[in-house]
Structures are given as C-alpha cells and as structure tokens.
Subunit: 349 residues, 2 copies
DNA sequence: TTTAGCACTCGGGAGAAAAGAGTGCTAACA
DNA sequence: TGTTAGCACTCTTTTCTCCCGAGTGCTAAA
C-alpha cells in the first residue's frame, strides 16, 4: 500500500527530527510544523506505527523511526542533497592536504572520511589474489649481500636487502637472476612453491637457500598485495553520541571496529553508494548501527571502498552526499595526475 | 624525613588495594591486615595524608594515594616483580605469532604491548634525521619507464616505478644513474635540494625533470625514514576502567591518544624503563594518567620505544614487569636471527 | 604508644511525590 | 468524512527527603 502524501511528509519530519535530537518526537511539534492539529497528527502517527514505520519506546512517549522507517526515508523521502560549495571546498582541501603526503591512500581514505562526516569510518583495500611477479632484479651490494627488487604484475615495485652465507659475485648474481626470471615470474603463490621444489633438485644446497629466500620474499610481497585489508578510524567519535552513552554499547562497538574490522560489510556489486540500515547488516554486532559504503575508482579497473559506521539515527542525507562527493573526487584524483605507481599506492604530488 | 617502616607498609597496602578496587580504602581493612587496631591505623593514615602521600575524596571516606604516594610506591615500596613463567610464555608466544607476520615491528609493538598489559599502548619509531642516500639504482622497464631503487645509509631499500616523458635507453639510464650517484649520495635533504639547483643549469630541461623527480622520491624516502612516528593502540580498553566511566573523560583521553599522539612522552635518556605519574606528565591532557615507557634495542645502535598509558591507579608492578620483559625479548629478537633488513624494518621469520 | 568508644560527617540508595510530556479516545464541528 | 478541541490517563523523569552505612577524628583509658 502506498502511503498518503501527508503520511510521507509526517514520516520524513519524524525521521529528520529524530536524527537531529535522538529523542522521540511528539505530535505537538509536528502539528505546528505541518499546519494541522496535533490530534490529526496523532491519528496519522498511530497508523504509521501500525504499518511498522514508527515505534514508541513506551506508551506515553513520542515516536521514533524503525529500521523500516529509515529505509523508506532513505529510498524515497530523503532529499538527495549534493554537497554545498563550502563543503566541497573543505573536502577537496582535506584531500589535497593529506593525500599528497606520504602514506597510502587507502589507509588515509578512512581517516579523511571520518573527519568529513564525523562518524567512524573504514576503508578497504581489495586484495588482488591473481597477482604474480613480473620481474626480478638483483643488485649486488657487497660480497655477501644484494638487493632484491620485485616488480609485480600490477607494476608495483618492492625491494629488500638480502644477506647471503656464501659470497656472490656479479656472474653468480646474473645466473640467479636469470633463474628467478625464468622459473618464478607469472606464477601464482602456489605455483611458486611447487616450482621451488622442482628447482631444488637441480641446485647446490647453498644456492638453493638463497633462491628460496628470495622466492619467499616475493611470496610475501604477493601475499601482502593480495590480502584484503580493512582499516578503521574515528571510532572514538561515537562517544559524543547519545546512543552510546551506555559504556557497554560504546565499548562493544569500539572493540568490534578495532578487532573485527574484517567483518565490516564489503558489498559485492559496483553500486557507487550503498546504505545498510540496522538489522540489514548481517553481523549481529552491527544490528543497531547503520553503514554507508561507497566505492571509488583507483584506476586499472580496480575499485577502492570506504564506509561510514554510525547509529541507525545517522544523518543519511549529509553522509551520503559527502561520501558520494568524496568517492567521486578520489576517483578523479586516481584517474588523472598519477605519474606512476609507488610502493604504497600513494599518488605522488 | 624518612617514613617509619609501618607507615611504608600501610602506604603500600593502601596503594595496592586502591589499584585493585579503585575505591578509597579504610582503616578497618588495613587494621585487620596489619594486625593492629583501626585507631592506630587512622593515626598513621592521618599523618600520611599530612605528608601528602594520601588524600581523602571527602571527610568521611577512606584514603586514596596521591601522585606523590604512587611515586614513593614505585620507587621504593613496590616489589620489583619479574614475570611468571606462564606470563613469559604468553608474551613470547604473542611475539612469535605476530612479529613474524608481515607488518612493521614498530607498528605492531604497541599493539602487542597493549594486549599484554591490557592498557592502551603506543610505540615510537624514532626518526633518523641524519640519514642519507647511499646508492641509486635505475632499472629500465620499457622505453618510457624505469624502476628507481634507493638504498639509504641504514641499509634500507625502497623502490618505485617511474614514468618519463621522453624515451630512455640503457645508455641514458646509465648516465642518469651515474649523475645521481655522484651528486646526490651522502647528502642531507637540504643539500640535495641545493645540489639539484646547481645541477639544473648543466642539464637539458627534459632530463632535469627526470632527475628532479627521482631526487624528490629519494627525499621523500628520507623524510619518511626521518620522521618520528607514533602509533597508538588499544585506546578503547579504558572504557572498562571505572575512572573512565565519565564519558567526557574517556572521550578526552581517547581523542588525545588518536589525534595528539605525537605529544606522548618520549624520554630522552636511554633508561630501560621509565614511569611518569599523573602530573609528572608535561602534557595537561595526561595530568591524571600515568605512562610507563620502555626502550628496546633494534640493532645498529638504534632504539625503539614502547609505552603504556593508563589511569594513575595503574598496576605498576605488573605493567613494569611485563613491559620490561617485552622490551628485553624484543631486543633479543632484533639482536639475533635478523638475516637482513627489509623495507619496513620487520624481522624475517 | 596503642586501643576502645563515641559523636560526627558525608555520600549513596530507597521511596514518595510532583512535574511533564505525550497519548488515546470521545464528542463536536465543517 | 475528515478534522479538531478537550480530557483523562499513562509512563518517565526529576526532585526531595530520609535513612543507612562506612569511615573519620577525638578523647580517655590501658
């Protein structure tokens, strides 16, 4: 059944007041706002309650939205705001300031979002499990150490200094490099391991030790790049919100954000923006929080993910607008002006 | 004036009870513990109050230690425990588990300590401002991109892929590398900048662009290595402590730990363990918290730093014992079994 | 110097009462 | 038929009071 126009108006007003005050809203306030009597409003409110959009904490209290109420609000009622010029300016500035400095964009994204929307936030680095090593390089340093350089198939480069038990001259290093590049490039982690075993038979033990160490390092690099990585920030912001006056609730959510961050929602589709309200979250610990999550383009067909976590009474209009703008800006930044990829995926000034 | 033996005993008992219960301790409990009458204890307590070691929240309450009381306790009264065998085992295990995985030791140290002592903790990566580039390497990838490898004077290696506007063949790359290694190694950040300017005159503009970009990257690497870096973890642990029942206090400390972590105490001397009690902290935000901070050896004359933050009612005996043991273990791990340095200073399995 | 005894202080908890906010229902009204 | 005014009712929150208990300081005796 479609709600009457007035009911929608009332529901919208209730949601917005509740979002602002965190307190059940009564008929009086609404009456004066909509220009009808409080009795009329009360009739409507009672019906909205029966329909499941509103609820009363107790008999003689005002109404608060149910998750279903928020859902309708987000889907239909909420004005789809775009950020104001000042907000845009502020976000752009934050982006410019922080992102050009050292430090991975992913790690920072959550932090930035959190400061932009004033809720806890998280960012997800999606791992690429299909990554392989594209090229090995070995640079001699002295007799017993050399630099291993590994370039992965997504053009990231990493390197480490490696000590060896036996002396390595330039020629040996060349041979080793050739061996690595012929046997261990373009291989998955698992393939690298099996290949390592088959190679072990053909090599002197001391040499094999060096090969295995180098391959191990490469595997480690791939692991790290392939790992899905979730970072949360701004968890302490919830302490200012009335729903987290209760220490236990606050503590529960905060420890969840820190210790179980891997379980934060990571929607599959490429929807630019997604809102999960209360019980729509699969994880029990999030059953009375809402999550807004946006994806952004990091180039080369890859997408990053940032999300915001807050009470169901979250300011959806503002959060969605700002988050959308943020994701858009970030996509743009990755699209252009990226001269080359660096170790930590951080774009260069 | 030196305190009588009995006064010390009483003070010690008060501190320990208060540490455990967070509630002012009365004469009755102490009387029964020390085998004298409560009246006697009361006299002693009154004197300890006058001397500034104890205080009363209000007239008819028990006594709680003042910072001065804690200080005496830590300096003289506290039994200098060593960790029990189980504790040691647990710490060793935690260390083995976490530290061998990917991820910098410094970043992890705080996290480990926090889980070991059950208070918020922080770790400091001391920057080395005197760092220079020891060696540049350039590895051609294709016509318009090459890998820059930078080895710093502390034998760390970092690398990035770099795009160029004009095509670069092997010979040009060789020249460029030679130029970088003759002009920009062993130089401080500032020197590198001035050297860059003087070099600019002798080079074609397109070539200079590439040089400057590479040098900029090197500078960035030095910056990052030179930056003092503080990481905090476990801030949410305070929410279970009675002194942070008050949301405002909890919020204040938590935001401080997140946003102002650079202001956490970093003692200068190489004392293995240092305790800062309440107002002994310079920072106002820490005036009613205590900090225990330990330094550990990361080899090559460098020292790392880990600290614990908690209420003045911190369990000093346990914390100092565990932290000392942790720092010692960490030093040992860095001392041996470190085959070579990696990018992130993480020891290899 | 220690102890028993006692009057006193103060915070915290239990109720009771009052205040306040908001409701549902009924009856009148346009 | 939808809207409104009025009113009794419900339930929470706040305030006030009272009382209890824990603990003290002081005094006088051992």
């Amino acid at each position: 059944m479609e709600l009457s126009e007035r009911k929608k108006q009332i529901l919208k007003a209730v949601v917005e007041h509740y979002i602002e005050s965190a307190e059940p809203v009564g008929s009086k306030l609404l009456a004066q706002e909509l220009g009808v009597s409080s009795a009329t409003i009360r009739n409507e409110l009672a019906e909205l309650c029966e329909l499941g959009f509103l609820e009363q904490p107790h008999t003689s209290a005002g109404r608060a939205p149910t998750p279903q109420g928020y859902r309708l609000y987000v889907n239909e009622l909420m004005e789809r705001r775009t950020v104001s010029a000042q907000e845009a300016e502020r976000i752009d500035e934050t982006l410019r300031d922080k992102l050009t400095n050292a430090g991975g964009a992913m790690a920072n994204a959550g932090q930035l979002v959190s400061s932009i929307v004033n809720y806890p936030a998280y960012s997800v680095k999606r791992g690429n499990a299909a990554l392989t090593v594209e090229r090995f390089e070995l640079l001699g340093v002295d007799e017993r150490s050399f630099i291993t350089v590994v370039m992965t198939s997504d053009k990231n480069v990493r390197s480490q200094l490696q000590q060896t038990a036996l002396p390595f001259d330039a020629q040996r290093l060349g041979n080793l490099k050739h061996l690595l590049n012929t046997h261990f490039t373009g291989k998955s982690r698992a393939e690298m391991s099996t290949r390592l075993m088959s190679v072990s038979e053909q090599l002197a033990p001391e040499l094999f030790l060096v090969v295995s160490k180098t391959v191990e390092y490469a595997a480690q690099v791939l692991d790290e790049a392939g790992r899905r990585d979730v970072e949360t920030t701004g968890a302490s912001r919830i302490l200012t919100m009335p729903e987290y006056r209760d220490m236990d609730r606050a503590h529960e959510l905060m420890t969840f954000l820190v210790d179980n961050k891997e379980q934060l929602p990571v929607p599959e589709g490429d929807a630019p923006l997604q809102v999960l309200i209360g019980p729509e979250n699969v994880d029990a610990a999030l059953r009375d929080t809402s999550v807004v999550v946006a994806s952004y383009d990091i180039g080369e067909g890859m997408r990053g993910l940032v999300g915001v976590v807050g009470p169901t009474r979250m300011d959806y209009a503002t959060v969605t607008a700002r988050l959308a703008y943020f994701a858009e800006s970030l996509s743009k930044m990755f699209g252009k002006g990226l001269p080359g990829k660096q170790e930590n995926d951080n774009p260069e000034a």
